[in-house]
C-alpha cells in the first residue's frame, strides 16, 4: 500500500507503531504530487521545507508563516506572511505539517476553482470537469491521495460542495467553532474553517484539533469541544422537500433518499420536513457576502502587498462593486438591512425545525461535477451551485458532506445539517453511515 493513500487515522497509527517514518510518509505524498500535479493542479505552492509531521494540504487563504499565501489572487502573488493562522498553528502543535497551499477561487469568490488567478484545478474523477470550490484544490488533493488530509474554508458551500464533487468528506463546523484568525476574510460573518478528509473519523480528528475558543477571534464560542459518540437509534432525521428540487440533476435526489434509507435501517426515524425555500437564502447571502467582501478587500489598496488594484479578477471586481452599492447611503435599508432581517427568518426557521428533528438530510449540490468553463459568464454560478448549503450557512449551522453514490463515475454528495454546536451528533451519524457503505473507498484512476 502506498503511504500517501493512508487515512489520517492510519497515518497516526502507523507512525505510533513505527511501521513507517515521517520522512517516508512525506516522500510518498511528494512523489504522488510529482506524478499527478501536472494534470490536477491542486496546489499553488508545495512546501519545500517539510521534514517532520503528517502532511496536510492547506487552502491558500490561511496565513502560513514563511510560506507564500496568495488566496489565489494576483493581488497577493509573492506575499509571504509573518504569522500563522490559528488553524495552522494548531495543526503544527499537533504534529501535522503544511505540505502545501491549495488552489481556490481567488479570495474564495466562486464555487469552481476556475476563478483562480493561478489556473484551474481539475477534478481527479474527470480531468475535463471542475472540482467545485472554492476549496477545490483541497478536495482534489485529498481524493487524488496527494496528501493525508486537507483544510478548507467555507463561507457558503466552499467545503461541502467541492467535497461533494470530488467524493470526499467535508465538515463545515458551526460558525465560531474554529478560529478565523489568519484566514483571509471573505464574508466575516459566515467564514468557517474545516477539514476535508478521506473518512469521517479523520474529519473528527482534525475538527477536535482545531475547534475551540481563540482569544484572537472574538467570534469564537466558549462551548466545550467534546468527542461524544451519539447513538443514531434515538435520533429523528428531517427530509425537507424544498431541498429535493425538481431541477436537480437526474439521480442526485434518489441517491440521497437511498442514503436516508440506510440511516433509517440503522435506527433513525425519518420525518418529512418543510423549510423556507433555499432560493431566498441565495438572495440574503449574496447581499451580505458582497457587502462584507467590499469592505474586507479594501485593504488591498495598491499601496502595500506589491500589486495594483486592477489585478483583482472579474469576479472579485463584480463582488466589490455590488457590495459597495448595497452599502451606499439610500440603499442600505433596502438591501443590507433587509437581508439581515430575512437572515433572522432563516435562523428562526431552523430553530423551529430542530425542535422536531435532530438532523436534516439533503443533497449537497443539485448536480455532480460540471464541465470546465461552466462558471464562465455565469455571474451567479456559485450561488446557484450552493443553493442547498446557503440556508445553513447564513444561520451559522454545522454541516457535513458525505459521498453517497455515483452517477456516470462522478461522485454524488449528501449533507447532514444540525443545530449550532451539534458537530458530535453530525459526526456520529456520518460515521455510522460511512461504516455501512463503501463510497468513501472509491478512488479515480490517475
Amino acid at each position: 500500500m502506498e503511504l500517501n493513500t493512508l487515512t489520517l487515522t492510519q497515518a497516526i497509527e502507523g507512525l505510533k507503531t513505527r511501521t513507517f517514518s515521517h520522512a517516508e510518509l512525506i516522500a510518498a505524498c511528494t512523489d504522488r504530487i510529482k506524478s499527478v500535479e501536472p494534470n490536477i493542479k491542486a496546489f499553488i505552492t508545495v512546501n519545500q521545507k517539510v521534514t517532520n509531521g503528517i502532511p496536510i494540504a492547506v487552502k491558500d487563504n490561511f496565513n502560513t508563516n514563511d510560506i507564500e499565501t496568495t488566496a489565489a489572487s494576483d493581488i497577493l502573488r509573492g506575499y509571504v506572511p509573518p504569522y500563522d493562522a490559528t488553524v495552522v498553528r494548531k495543526l503544527k502543535e499537533h504534529g501535522m505539517m503544511i505540505l502545501g497551499k491549495t488552489n481556490m477561487d481567488a479570495f474564495a469568490h466562486g464555487s469552481s476553482t476556475e476563478a483562480s488567478d493561478f489556473g484551474a484545478t481539475s477534478n481527479p474523477w474527470d480531468l475535463e470537469r471542475l472540482p467545485g470550490g472554492s476549496s477545490g484544490g483541497s478536495a482534489a488533493a485529498v481524493i487524488a491521495d496527494e496528501c493525508i488530509a486537507a483544510i478548507g474554508s467555507e463561507t457558503a458551500g466552499s467545503i461541502r460542495q467541492p467535497a461533494s464533487w470530488c467524493g470526499v468528506v467535508g465538515l463545515k463546523p458551526t460558525y465560531g467553532r474554529v478560529s478565523r484568525y489568519g484566514l483571509i476574510a471573505m464574508a466575516s460573518s459566515t467564514d468557517s474553517p474545516g477539514p476535508i478528509t478521506k473518512t469521517v473519523a479523520d474529519a473528527r480528528i482534525l475538527y477536535e484539533m482545531l475547534a475551540g475558543f481563540d482569544p484572537y477571534d472574538a467570534t469564537t464560542g466558549h462551548q466545550p469541544v467534546t468527542s461524544e459518540i451519539i447513538n443514531i437509534k434515538h435520533l429523528t432525521i428531517g427530509v425537507p422537500k424544498q431541498y429535493f428540487r425538481s431541477e436537480a440533476q437526474n439521480g442526485v435526489n434518489q441517491r440521497v433518499l437511498d442514503a436516508a434509507k440506510v440511516l433509517e435501517k440503522l435506527g433513525a426515524r425519518l420525518v418529512d420536513l418543510s423549510l423556507l425555500d433555499p432560493e431566498y437564502a441565495v438572495s440574503v447571502y449574496t447581499i451580505l457576502q458582497r457587502a462584507e467582501v467590499s469592505s474586507n478587500l479594501a485593504r488591498f489598496d495598491g499601496i502595500r502587498f506589491g500589486h495594483r488594484r486592477d489585478q483583482f479578477n472579474e469576479e472579485n471586481k463584480r463582488r466589490i462593486m455590488l457590495g459597495n452599492y448595497t452599502l451606499s447611503a439610500g440603499y442600505y435599508d433596502a438591501y443590507y438591512a433587509k437581508a439581515q432581517k430575512v437572515r433572522t427568518l432563516f435562523i428562526n426557521d431552523f430553530h423551529k425545525a430542530f425542535d422536531a428533528v435532530d438532523l436534516i438530510i439533503g443533497p449537497t449540490s443539485p448536480s455532480t461535477a460540471l464541465k470546465k468553463g461552466a462558471s464562465k459568464d455565469h455571474v451567479m454560478f456559485g450561488e446557484l451551485q450552493d443553493i442547498l448549503v446557503e440556508p445553513s450557512t447564513i444561520a451559522g449551522l454545522p454541516g457535513i458532506n458525505l459521498p453517497c453514490g455515483f452517477i456516470e463515475r462522478l461522485p454524488v454528495g449528501m449533507q447532514l445539517i444540525g443545530p449550532q454546536w451539534s458537530e458530535d451528533k453530525i459526526l456520529s451519524v456520518a460515521q455510522m453511515y460511512e461504516e455501512q457503505t463503501l463510497w468513501h473507498t472509491q478512488r479515480p484512476k490517475l
Binding site: N61, F62, N63, T69, A71, L76, Y79, P81, P82, Y83, A85, R180, Y181, G182, L183, I184, A185, A187, S188, S189, P215, Y216, D217, A218, T219, A291, E292, S294, S295, L297, A298, R299, F300, D301, I303, R304, N324, L327, S328, A329, Y332, Y336
Partner: protein, 448 residues
C-alpha cells in the same frame, strides 16, 4: 445687526490603556521610532482580526458616567469604509448608531454664570496611522507610521450649545481636567492625545429674535483636528469673523470642512458638502454586539471618584477656602491630593488657608517635595516677618491665661499640651509671623 455664534464640538481623546483598541500593541506612540510598535492586527494584514480591549470600553463608559450620560444596555462596533494610506484596513472600526454612551451634560461657569453643555454621545473607535511628508534623496515622499494605528480613541460629541469662544475654552479645559482625573488619558494637546474639531455657524440676530429657542442656520463649518487650546480659540474667532463678513457681503456660507493654518491664523476650505464621503457603514461582523448588566455599570460608577467640582465644593466647605483657591488646588488631581496630604501631616499648627496659599503662590513642585518638607518650609519661613516683641508677649500672656488647663497639663508632663498652646498662639498671630522654635522657647519661658 448682531450675530450669534452657534458652536458644537467633537473632541477626540486617546485612551492610555496598556494595549491597543483591538490588539496587544502598546499604545505609546509619541516620539517612538516609526513602525516599531505594530502587529498583524494594527497593520491590517490579511486574516488578522480585531479583539476589543475591555479596559478601553470600561473607561469610555466611566467617562460617560462622569458626564452624566445615559449608558445603554447594548452597544456595538461598526465599520466606516474609506480608503486612505494611514488606514491599513480600508475601514475604521468605530460606532455609528449604538454608541457606548448616550446623552449627558457638562456644567461650565463662564464670567460667573453657570451653563450646561449637552453631550450628544460618546463613542469608541481606533486611531489611524500617521502620514509624514518628507524628502528622501531629494525626492518628495509620504511615509506612513503605523505606531498610532489601533490606539483606542474616544470621541465626545456635544450639542451645538456654545455661544462664544470663551464657553468653548472653558469646556475643553474642564473636559481635559475630568479625563485626567479619571486617569484614562493624559489628554495632552501637544502630544495629539486630545484633538478638537469645532463646528461653527453664525445666526444674524435682531431685537425680535427669540434667543432661547433659536432655529439653527442650515449650514455649519467644521474645522478639523486642532491640537492646542489657543488654536481652538483663534480658529473659532477667525471663522466667526469670516462668516460675518460673508453674510454682510450678501453671501451665504456653505457647509464645509476647513483646516486651520496655524502659521497664518486662518482657516482654509478642504471639502464641500457635495464631496462628503459616503462611508458605507455597516455593523462590524468580526466583533459580537456588547451587552452590559446594570451591576457592571453600577460597579464602574463606584470607580469615578471625586471629580473636580465636588472636590472644590468640599475644600471650600471643609477647609474654609475661597472658591478661587479651591479651584486652583483642584486643577489637577495630584495637586488636590498633595494639599490634603500636607494637611494630614500636621497638627493644626499651620492653617489650611496657609498651606493652600503656599502651594498656589510658591508653585511648589509637588512631585519632588514630600509633604513633611513643605510643612517645615512653611513653618521655617515664618521668621521673615516677626510680630513685634511687645505684641507677641501680650498674645502669649493672653493665650496662657485663657488656657490654664493646658498650662497645668504641660507642667504635669504632657508635651502635647505645649503644642496646643503654640498652635493657638500661631493662629492668633497668623502664619508667617514667627519662627516655630523661637516661639516655643518664648512660650516655655512664660510658663515657668
Amino acid at each position: 445687526m448682531t450675530y450669534q455664534p452657534i458652536i458644537g464640538l467633537e473632541v477626540h481623546v486617546e485612551l492610555s490603556t496598556e494595549s491597543g483598541m483591538f490588539c496587544g500593541c502598546s499604545g505609546k506612540h509619541f516620539q517612538a521610532k516609526p513602525n516599531t510598535n505594530t502587529c498583524p492586527v494594527c497593520l491590517g494584514l490579511p486574516g488578522a482580526l480585531p479583539v476589543p480591549n475591555k479596559k478601553a470600553i470600561e473607561w469610555t463608559i466611566l467617562l460617560g458616567l462622569a458626564l452624566e450620560c445615559e449608558i445603554p444596555g447594548e452597544s456595538r462596533f461598526d465599520r466606516k469604509n474609506y480608503i486612505y494610506p494611514d488606514l491599513p484596513k480600508g475601514y475604521q472600526i468605530t460606532q455609528l448608531d449604538q454608541p457606548l454612551c448616550g446623552p449627558g451634560k457638562l456644567d461650565i461657569e463662564v464670567s460667573g454664570e453657570n451653563k450646561s453643555i449637552r453631550i450628544r454621545r460618546i463613542h469608541l473607535e481606533e486611531d489611524t496611522g500617521k502620514i509624514q511628508h518628507t524628502e528622501i534623496d531629494g525626492e518628495r515622499v509620504a511615509l506612513v507610521d503605523f505606531n498610532r494605528s489601533g490606539v483606542p480613541l474616544v470621541e465626545i460629541v456635544t450639542e451645538p450649545d456654545f455661544r462664544s469662544v470663551e464657553e468653548v475654552d472653558v469646556f475643553v479645559k474642564k473636559l481635559q481636567q475630568i479625563v485626567r482625573y479619571l486617569g484614562i488619558s493624559g489628554a495632552d494637546m501637544e502630544k495629539g492625545s486630545m484633538r478638537i474639531e469645532p463646528s461653527i455657524s453664525i445666526l444674524p440676530i435682531s431685537n425680535t429674535t427669540n434667543t432661547t429657542n433659536i432655529k439653527y442656520p442650515n449650514y455649519r463649518v467644521e474645522i478639523k483636528n486642532i491640537n492646542s487650546f489657543k488654536f481652538v480659540r483663534n480658529a473659532i474667532a477667525y471663522e466667526i469673523e469670516r462668516q460675518r463678513e460673508m453674510i454682510e457681503r450678501g453671501e451665504t456660507p456653505t457647509q464645509q470642512t476647513r483646516g486651520f493654518m496655524e502659521s497664518k491664523g486662518v482657516t482654509v476650505a478642504q471639502r464641500e458638502k457635495e464631496e462628503a464621503h459616503d462611508y458605507r457603514y455597516f455593523p462590524e461582523p468580526d466583533i459580537p454586539p456588547m451587552r452590559f448588566a446594570q451591576a457592571q455599570i453600577a460597579k464602574l460608577k463606584t470607580q469615578i471618584g471625586e471629580l473636580p467640582d465636588e472636590k472644590k465644593a468640599r475644600f471650600m466647605k471643609e477647609y474654609g477656602l475661597s472658591a478661587y483657591d479651591a479651584g486652583l488646588l483642584v486643577e489637577t488631581k495630584q495637586r488636590a491630593e498633595y494639599f490634603e496630604k500636607v494637611l494630614s501631616r500636621q497638627s493644626s499648627v499651620v492653617s489650611p488657608k496657609a498651606i493652600a496659599n503656599w502651594i498656589i503662590n510658591k508653585k511648589v513642585d509637588i512631585a519632588s517635595t514630600p509633604p513633611e518638607q513643605l510643612l517645615d518650609q512653611i513653618v521655617q519661613s515664618t521668621t521673615t516677618t516677626p510680630v513685634s516683641g511687645d505684641e507677641l508677649e501680650n498674645i502669649i500672656k493672653q493665650v496662657l491665661s485663657e488656657n490654664s488647663k493646658a498650662v497645668e497639663d504641660y507642667k504635669s508632663g504632657k508635651e502635647q499640651a505645649l503644642m496646643f498652646i503654640i498652635g493657638t498662639v500661631i493662629k492668633r498671630i497668623g502664619v508667617g509671623s514667627g519662627d516655630k522654635n523661637t516661639l516655643i522657647a518664648i512660650v516655655k519661658k512664660h510658663i515657668q
